[in-house]
Amino acid sequence: MKGLRSLYIQVGIGLVLFILFAVLINNLSINLIRTNLNFSFKWLYRPASFALAEHPLPYSPSDSYAWALFIGWLNSLKVIFISLIISTLIGFITGIARTGRNPLLKIIAASYITLIRQTPLLLQLMFWYFVGFLSIKGTLIFPNERILVLSNQGIKIFGDINLTAEYSSLVIGLTVFTGAYIAEVVRGGINSVPRGQWEAFRSVGLNENSGVLKIIIPQALPAILPGLTSQYLNLAKNSTLAIAVGYADIYAISDTIINQTGRAIEGFILLLLSFLFLNLIISLMMDFFNEIITKYQKV
């Protein structure tokens, strides 16, 4: 009786959705026929004929669109994984400082967090790129040529690692931004540990710094991990703002390709798939960490 009614409702709703999609798809195919673009992925094998400034693997404009996309993917990974590590460091240090006892550090951490969280990431990225790198005149050397050289070409570390200005500003912008968000996650995690734990480690004579690192943080980790995961996923998504500083990541390259070929639908599907895949990697990685932590804490 009840089952039948809910079946009717579902069939009805299914029908409405179906008709809606049918109309949309119909419009789409009319529009595609009008512009002579049939749905297909064959164009992926045609030469891309645009140059890329940065490519971790050999690439030339005569290579295919597919290869260009793959290079874009590698470029994205290069940004995401470095930023992920540095922003975690910044986030933990700031989060601990924010909950610590030193009032000076507390104020600095709090102002850093509010300044970063209340302004758009895009603005911050442009700041790092245009103000941070492009307006450097000549070279800035810290402490000598062997260690660190800054110029409007980018960063040179240890004399032979060259990072372009685009890559550097993107990584700096993303890490500074994500670090502030991770700091808030860490603060929440630390605050979820009962106050008695602080008294406990003080009473056994541990000093403040090692107490927080050895006693508090391990207990806060389970509460921190879910928030950390979603910040990592955000970081991956935010890395697509690379286009604003002219770094050729997966999105920037898809954008160029679509503008050249007009293949918006196919491009969208490829981008969607690559992000689903990326999210999967990050989630699996975090599940793995979660497992390690729970195991470690049971022992």
């Binding site: 809910s6 409702i9 579902q10 709703i13 299914g14 959705l17 949309l24 419009n27 789409l28 009319i30 529009n31 595609l32 009008r34 006892r101 030193n102 009032p103 000076l104 550090l105 600095i108 509010t114 300044l115 969280r117 209340q118 302004t119 758009p120 990431l121 895009l122 603005l123 442009m126 700041f127 245009f130 103000v131 307006s135 000093n207 403040e208 710094n209 998504k237 935010n238 890395s239 697509t240 703002l241 286009i243 604003a244 999105y251 898809s254 954008d255 679509i258 918006a264 639908i265 969208f268 981008l271 969607l272 992000f275 689903l276 999210n279």
Partner: protein
């Protein structure tokens, strides 16, 4: 008197000693930071007061506020911004028991059609095409109208995801998860490209509307998750009590679940709104001249070339200020709804 003062100072010194100089490492960190802070402050104030050339900001205030809106019609966006500011002030300062407070939600909703009427014109006002909209006005308009549309849509998605009807449940889940998986910039970009493709040839919609649709599709997925979080925080026994009184599903949703969910989810929803305001800046790389977009074209003007720092500091201040105001309004609403009801 003097003794009291001495005691206080002593206490302060002790406090500083205890918190900043307990170990040699702490002492080192504290001194190091103080010196760095000092140097930075001196350098920044030097730049701010002596080196910076603020004419780029001073000369272009109308541009930052209204973009390239026709100069003789600028009173229209100004009027809208003034209405908004008065609403913020009213929301912050009317006491919770006052009669006006009940009207405030309606005023906030009404402000969107008023904005459209004032910006687009038509009824007695000379029409202004949406490509002339810009600056802070457009930023706020994008944020408010997307939020206004995404809110009910997100609520429907959240309840849909909890539905007992499998079809609806899966549809909503797939929608929410897909939109949360992909970056906003791609949704906005493809929104610009694809929305016209999915519509009949005759229907043309402008860039502003397309971006509002894209923002709505994106934000509603996130709002749906916040609402779902709120729904899960309500004990099932509440629903049983309501059922026992004879309420039907709609009445339970309307009178028992929604009011509690909105209260629980308010902080998360505020974060979404603040995030949305910041994200409207993405439209600056997709052809709208909202606050960041107009600044980019300003910086391309040979007259102001290289004045990135001044413009960016100014923009950061505006965004920071508006985000803070939004957080304040949300806190105020939260206090006034929960204080009365729970304390």
């Amino acid at each position: 008197m003097a003794i009291l003062l001495m005691k206080k100072i002593n206490k302060l010194i002790n406090n500083v000693k205890r918190t900043m100089f307990t170990s040699s490492l702490d002492t080192f960190i504290s001194l190091f930071i103080t010196s760095i802070l000092f140097v930075c402050t001196v350098k920044l104030s030097k730049w701010f007061f002596l080196k910076a050339n603020w004419t780029v900001v001073e000369e272009n205030i109308p541009l930052f506020l209204f973009g390239v809106f026709p100069a003789d019609q600028r009173w229209r966006p100004s009027l809208w911004l003034i209405i908004l500011i008065s609403l913020v002030v009213l929301t912050l300062f009317t006491p919770s028991w006052s009669f006006f407070r009940k009207l405030l939600p309606f005023a906030w909703i009404a402000v969107i059609p008023i904005g459209i009427a004032l910006l687009a014109g038509g009824i007695g006002l000379s029409p202004v095409a949406s490509r002339y909209w810009g600056g802070l006005t457009l930023t706020i308009f994008l944020m408010m109208s997307s939020l206004f549309l995404a809110f009910p849509f997100g609520i429907i998605l959240a309840f849909g995801r909890q539905s007992k009807l499998q079809l609806i449940k899966y549809f909503c889940s797939i929608y929410i998860e897909t939109l949360r998986a992909i970056p906003l910039i791609s949704i906005l970009f493809f929104g610009q490209l694809l929305i016209p493709l999915f519509l009949p040839v005759e229907i043309e919609i402008n860039r502003v509307l397309r971006s509002i649709i894209a923002f709505t599709l994106f934000v509603s997925a996130y709002i749906a998750e916040d609402i779902r979080g709120g729904l899960q925080a309500i004990p099932k026994s509440q629903i049983e009590a309501a059922k026992s009184l004879g309420f039907n599903t709609f009445q339970i949703t309307r009178f028992i679940l929604l009011p509690q969910v909105l209260q629980i989810a308010l902080p998360a929803l505020t974060n979404q709104a603040v995030g949305l305001l910041q994200n409207t800046s993405l439209m600056s790389i997709l052809g709208l001249v909202e606050l960041l977009g107009i600044s980019r074209s300003l910086l391309a003007n040979p007259k102001f070339i290289g004045q990135y720092m001044e413009v960016y500091v100014w923009l950061a201040a505006i965004y920071w200020f508006i985000c803070t105001i939004m957080a304040l309004v949300a806190q105020n609403i939260e206090r006034k709804t929960t204080l009365v009801k729970l304390i």
